[in-house]
């Protein structure tokens, strides 16, 4: 009886073997080597990811009826999956097990395609580097059409970086279809941030833990409203630029929009006292000042400064330098302006200075003129060493726009907007930052459906890292919108800010 079973098994194995060899009549492996890496989208070849990255699902842009994907970690553990289509989607848990075991190493991804006739093509494996440093668990961004004047739906979303959960923080249909502007967090803290809303329920919404308050920061002494914010690390102050912004449109097909300040200045808001005051400027020359950014120790306020725009002059003459002023918290006073990076000297303009949490590095966007770099194709990210004051172009740039960026709380990751996909819509890209010499190849925010970016016309605006999940949602903001805004009190001289 036992023998009979053994015989049956042997016969079964032989039949199976024959069947398999039938698929390969020559008895040889009919898989040829492509001699190159496969084309995949998004391009994840050679990127550096954190050990808590969401699965890097991708599309295979190669011919084939089915695909075999083998992912191997440095310790030899393997994750294999077969795909009848061109979309490769990893199992969440298996993916995390794999990359958790691959810290400080690289995983290799091998793809073998099979045609209708069974003939296969083996592509050269590509590597994905896994850094040891994790990213903050969430990012926050505004999702909207890369539009011009009209808008309908604007959302501020938060997204887990470890998986594909995406949750709304604000949806403007809950706020009487008002325009929802930039969000700004205090040192990546999901419990301390602000959001501007324009319209019938407008105001600046301050979130502190579970509490949402609404303020009207523009006083009669201010010519324009408070626009671009930066939280003082202590949490008591927020520096804003107060801007008069104009949007223009180019006629040439290779250009698009020009957003320009006609005037701007810096103001400081004291949350404790509900007072707003100008950031003093002793220079007699008139300037435009924008994009404030505090140093992590709170002792300096960095910002961008250009000569005051003269009505009718060419916008391309507006060039911003990177400046800073010392700040004394006890007296709420600022020192003289110091030049940090002379962009004008090289015929360029600076925007979005962002300092690493350790205070050693500053990343800014450099472009030809103006300050609204998202519509400048030539805009690239630069790294400034604040100790040596040496700057260098970052190896994360592309031929398309790189613009807004922010640091993770551990200073090891940068998230930045890039339009490299299609030239119009910005996507969040992540780059590992080991040192100025060791910067990883960036990767785009992975999506459950890897084809999403191919069809999506919405743009990801102002990506920011968060150390946790934002607890408030659209309903909380709707409730807060019903309370009247508290008017800030002007604490500067009783004259108009110019």
């Amino acid at each position: 009886m036992l023998n009979a079973r053994v015989y049956i098994r042997i016969i079964a194995i032989l039949v199976f073997g024959l069947l398999i060899s039938g698929c390969n009549p020559a008895g040889k492996d009919n898989t040829k080597d492509a001699g190159r890496e496969p084309v995949i989208e998004p391009d994840y070849s050679g990127v550096t990811i954190p050990p808590n990255a969401a699965p890097l699902n991708f599309m295979i842009k190669e011919e084939g009826n089915s695909f075999l994907v083998n992912v191997t970690s440095p310790d030899g553990s393997k994750l294999s999956l077969k795909s009848s289509g061109k979309k490769v989607r990893f199992h969440l848990k298996a993916w995390h097990n794999l990359i958790e075991n691959s810290k400080n190493g690289k995983i290799e991804v091998e793809i073998i395609s099979k045609g209708k006739d069974g003939a296969g093509t083996r592509y050269v494996p590509f590597a994905i580097n896994v850094a040891e440093d994790p990213m903050d668990p969430y990012i926050c961004y505004r999702l909207l059409y890369p539009g011009y004047e009209t808008y309908l739906q604007i959302k501020i979303m938060q997204r887990s970086v470890s998986d594909f959960r995406e949750m709304p923080v604000i949806e403007n249909q809950m706020l009487k279809n008002n325009c929802v502007n930039c969000h700004s967090f205090n040192s990546n803290n999901p419990e301390k941030f602000l959001i501007h809303v324009r319209g019938s329920v407008g105001g600046t919404y301050f979130i502190d833990g579970k509490k949402i308050t609404k303020s009207e920061l523009k006083t009669s002494e201010m010519n324009f409203g408070a626009v671009y914010p930066s939280w003082h690390p202590g949490g008591r102050f927020v520096a804003f630029s107060s801007n008069n912004i104009r949007q223009s449109f180019h006629a040439a097909p290779e250009e698009n929009i020009e957003v320009t300040d006609l005037a701007s200045s810096l103001v400081l808001y004291d949350l404790e006292k509900n007072e707003i005051m100008p950031v003093s400027e002793k220079d007699t020359v008139k300037y435009m000042e924008t994009f404030p950014e505090w140093s992590p120790d709170g002792k300096y306020l960095y910002y961008c400064r250009a000569l005051q725009y003269v009505d009718g002059s060419d916008f391309s003459t507006i060039k911003y330098n990177l400046m800073r002023k010392s700040f004394d918290q006890s007296s709420r006073s600022f020192g003289d302006a110091e030049l940090v990076f002379d962009a004008r000297l090289i015929g360029k303009s600076v925007s979005f200075p962002r300092i690493s949490p350790d205070g050693k590095y500053l990343v800014f966007t450099l472009h030809n003129f103006g300050n609204f770099s998202i519509w400048h194709k030539e805009a690239d990210l630069y790294l400034l060493d604040l100790q040596t004051m040496k700057s260098q172009i970052m190896p994360v740039n592309s031929n398309e726009t790189e613009s807004y960026h922010s640091w993770s709380s551990n200073g090891k990751w940068l998230v930045f907007s890039s339009k490299r996909g299609d030239g119009l819509t910005a996507r969040p890209y992540f780059a590992w930052f080991g040192s100025p010499e060791k910067i990883g190849k960036p990767f785009v925010l992975p999506q459950k459906d890897p084809a999403l970016y191919q069809s999506m016309i919405l743009t990801f605006n102002k990506p920011e890292f968060l150390m946790g999940k934002i607890l408030q949602g659209p309903r909380e903001f709707e409730t807060a919108s019903k309370i009247p805004a508290v008017n800030a009190i002007w604490a500067g001289e009783k004259k108009e800010v110019k």
């Binding site: 059409y145 539009g147 011009y148 004047e149 009209t150 808008y151 309908l152 709304p168 949806e171 249909q173 809950m174 009487k176 223009s248 449109f249 180019h250 006629a251 040439a252 097909p253 290779e254 250009e255 698009n256 020009e258 916008f315 996909g421 299609d422 030239g423 119009l424 191919q454 069809s455 999506m456 016309i457 659209p474 309903r475 709707e478």
Partner: protein, 600 residues
């Protein structure tokens, strides 16, 4: 005693009905067929613009993303279904048949309701056709989308199910299924709830309507607090027709009210007793009376100018410039949009300076271009994109199409313009995204495939008669577009690309509509160099006019004024009576000249 009387009444009633049944067994089908035919005929012959309009209000995309836009709020599925049906509105015939089928189906459901609540009395068919007749009248307003009609149909079906359910578990099941109905039909739920409450009260039932109200209340709370991120007013009113849809908002409330009290009306009508022999004739007369009222109302509502405008718009969307020009010159529509379409068609054909005054120009430069005004409805200003497209300012045409897409979603016109402008500008990756959207539609797939072949193939785009021509009109160098005074862009455009005759002719047309003959004449000198072998008719008229009062011809740059124009001007200047019918004759002869526009 009462009970026995009631039974007797019912018996009499049934006997009477039996009579009707014998002699007019198929009457209801004849009436329903008549309803279908009346509706089809009206919408095919007089109301086809309704379908043209609604067809162009949206683009049904076969994708999960498109569905999810609707699935995120209660009632969205109803609109989704309406948009699905509207795909068939691409021709007047299919549109009228589809819509009439919807209307007839509504009547069939109400017929079933009436049979249960009313029996086979003399007003059975009258009550059957009343809701459909009302819906036909409402639908003659092109803004009354088909999903509004679909909503009433759903309400009637669910109501029929509720009243058909005799056994308690089934009634309870339907009541507890109410949240699903709410999700699908949105605020139509309130009409259904109203109907059911009235029905129950008429039948002296309290428990079921109370339960229904409780379920409805609970559903709205759960939807609001947990399931849907929608403001309260949207949850309570979407997708009911907005009251602003009609000149007299009260009419929409009358419609709601009538449907809600429908069970009550049936009940009180059941007390009307008619002789058995008269039931059939009364039934038919009331239906004929209702149809007559409907037809009469439709004739009152019908606005021939609106129909003409939509007919013109149809030619325009088809880029059938010859027909746009012919039709406007024939109809002389006074509407600003019609005149704007006419002028744009002339620009596309290069005939602005040749025949702009062959059509009325009642709005001066206002019918040449649409000035941007963010306070205006994008529907009104989207048309402005065509001016930029015709003039060759492709970036701006693209922007206006994009603005339309952002605030209105994809529509056949805006997506076509988005694709064309991106292809012309060489933005193939973005063009590809729009093409992928268009590929997922029923009626535009072939067009999408045509454009798909052009991706990355500049030579193919350049060889396309439409797109190639636009490439030649592109600005030679960049400038910032003037938003306040769009006419300024014409000069900038022309200067940046002196070969752009469309911009030049627009500029000339602007001067003419501004009654500025001198500026027109100043430009004649350079026309020969631009390739003109003769001076266009209206420009000649300007030159002759200037000569008449200054005594000098402008610099014609080597071109000449035709004898025909000189002769006509001589005739124009001949003293003659310009009063009453003489003026009409004068207008007939000279109304198509720049001189007439200048003088009158």
């Amino acid at each position: 005693m009462k009970s026995s009387q009631k039974k007797k009444d019912e018996k009499d009633h049934n006997t009477a009905s039996g009579g009707v049944q014998e002699s007019g067994r198929y009457d209801h089908w004849h009436i329903l067929l008549l309803l279908f035919l009346v509706s089809s005929f009206y919408f095919l012959i007089f109301g086809s613009h309704v379908f043209f309009y609604q067809y162009n209000q949206g683009l049904f995309i076969y994708s999960g993303d498109y569905f999810s836009q609707f699935a995120r709020k209660p009632g969205g599925v109803l609109e989704y279904a309406g948009n699905f049906i509207a795909q068939g509105y691409n021709s007047p015939l299919s549109g009228s048949l589809l819509f009439s089928a919807l209307i007839t189906l509504t009547a069939i459901v109400f017929y079933r309701i009436n049979k249960i609540l009313y029996g086979k009395g003399p007003l059975l068919m009258a009550f059957t056709v009343i809701p459909s007749c009302l819906l036909i009248m409402f639908s003659s307003n092109f803004n009354f989308s088909n999903f509004y009609t679909l909503g009433f149909l759903l309400v009637s079906i669910y109501f029929l199910l509720l009243i058909k359910a005799v056994r308690r578990p089934l009634v309870l099941f339907l009541i507890f299924l109410f949240p699903l109905f709410y999700y699908i039909a949105g605020a139509y739920t309130w009409i259904l709830a109203g109907m059911f409450i009235i029905y129950s009260l008429v039948n002296r039932k309290i428990i079921y309507p109370a339960l229904l109200l409780f379920v409805a209340f609970l559903t709205s709370v759960i939807f609001r607090k947990f399931l849907f991120l929608q403001p309260l007013d949207v949850l309570l009113s979407y997708p009911l027709p907005p009251v602003g849809l009609f000149r007299y908002p009260v009419v929409i409330y009358i419609l709601y009210g009538l449907i809600v009290i429908y069970p009550f009306l049936l009940r009180i009508s059941s007390f009307i007793k008619i002789k058995e022999s008269e039931i059939r004739s009364i039934s038919n007369y009331t239906v004929i009376f209702l149809f007559s009222i409907t037809v009469f109302s439709l004739s009152r509502f019908h606005n021939p100018e609106i129909s003409s405008l939509f007919k013109l718009e149809k030619f325009f969307y088809q880029r059938d410039w010859n027909n746009v020009i012919r039709y406007q010159e024939q109809m002389q529509i006074k509407n600003v949009v019609a005149q704007y379409y006419y002028n744009t068609a002339l620009a596309e054909k290069g005939q602005l300076c040749e025949r702009i005054f062959f059509s009325r120009q009642d709005f001066g430069t206002g019918s040449l271009m649409v000035q941007w005004d963010s306070k205006l409805n994008i529907n009104q200003i989207f048309r402005g994109a065509y001016f930029f497209y015709a003039a060759g300012l492709i970036n701006e045409a693209h922007r206006w199409a994009f603005e339309s897409m952002v605030s209105q979603g994809f529509r056949p016109e805006n997506i076509k313009l988005l694709i064309k402008t991106e292809l012309i500008s060489g933005h193939y990756k973005i063009a590809g995204k729009y093409i992928n959207v268009l590929k997922k539609t029923l009626n535009y797939r072939a067009l999408a495939l045509k454009y798909e072949k052009m991706l990355g193939n500049h030579d193919l785009i350049a060889s396309d008669p439409e797109l190639g021509n636009k490439i030649r009109l592109l600005p030679g160098k960049d400038f910032l577009v003037s938003l306040k005074d769009q006419q300024d862009n014409l000069l900038l455009l022309f200067r940046s690309n002196p070969g752009n005759r469309a911009a030049f002719e627009y500029m000339m047309a602007w001067y003419m509509l501004e009654r500025n003959a001198e500026n027109v004449c100043d430009e004649i000198a350079g026309m020969k160099q631009m390739g003109y072998d003769r001076i266009p008719r209206h420009v000649e008229e300007a030159a002759v006019y200037v000569h008449a009062y200054s005594g000098e011809y402008p610099d014609l740059g080597g071109l000449t004024i035709s004898n025909e124009t000189l002769a006509r001007f001589s005739q124009y200047k001949t003293p003659q009576s310009r009063q009453g019918s003489d003026f009409d004759k004068f207008r007939k002869v000279f109304g198509d000249t720049f001189w007439f526009y200048l003088d009158f």
